[in-house]
Symmetry: C2
Subunit: 110 residues, 2 copies
Amino acid sequence: MEKRRDVFQAIADPTRREILSLIAKKPLNLNSIAENFDMSRPAVSQHIKVLDESGLVVMRKKGRQRFCYIRPQKMKDVDQWLQQFRQLWEDRFDQLDQVLTNLKDQDDEE
Amino acid sequence: MEKRRDVFQAIADPTRREILSLIAKKPLNLNSIAENFDMSRPAVSQHIKVLDESGLVVMRKKGRQRFCYIRPQKMKDVDQWLQQFRQLWEDRFDQLDQVLTNLKDQDDEE
DNA sequence: TCTTTATGTAAGTATTTGATTACATAAATA
DNA sequence: TATTTATGTAATCAAATACTTACATAAAGA
């Protein structure tokens, strides 16, 4: 039985996000993915395992290779979570922006 | 100087995502946020600190209270990262879906 | 069959995370 | 001024994370 993983936890790691970007362009086998990173193959393999367990990718055996495919449907889950905030950033003149404008006087970052 | 945090790492934790959902509806002070969770106030405070450092929220002092506001612009960063995958889930009949359909025979999950 | 290639897996480890409790401080109120 | 309220901070700790190296296995090709 496969362990279930949280999608948000899966995309938290920058290496895993890079892997997703890579295979979004073209499905790749494990070694080809590992070549793109400055870390050991087992390390990359573990990242892919996390992605697999989260449902963000699926693996498919092809001879002695295992190819990694992105699962767009699961990526959509993240998009749907964002839905609740979308209105906020589309409303340019909401209260929060005013608050942030006022804050510029007492806060100097960014 | 404030430590910079990764937005994706910030939303990785379910408690922090809940906090964001809460204050998206209405800005709240720290204690009011903590009331919604079954954990100690300092624990919630640390979560909010992470959100603050990631830029997803801003704090504003009001008397002895500190209110927590969502920063929609930063939420948009996540949305923009998703952009690269959007085409994939909008194309219903791409190669990946065919692969997934074939996979149903050798894989029994979900 | 022997070798190479692609991958799996196990053991070990440093660091980070997510929580706790205890105590400190600063603003509002009696 | 004394107390309450809202919050900050420090010390501690267990568990999870993100790696490493070493070895095992399974499929393809010489």
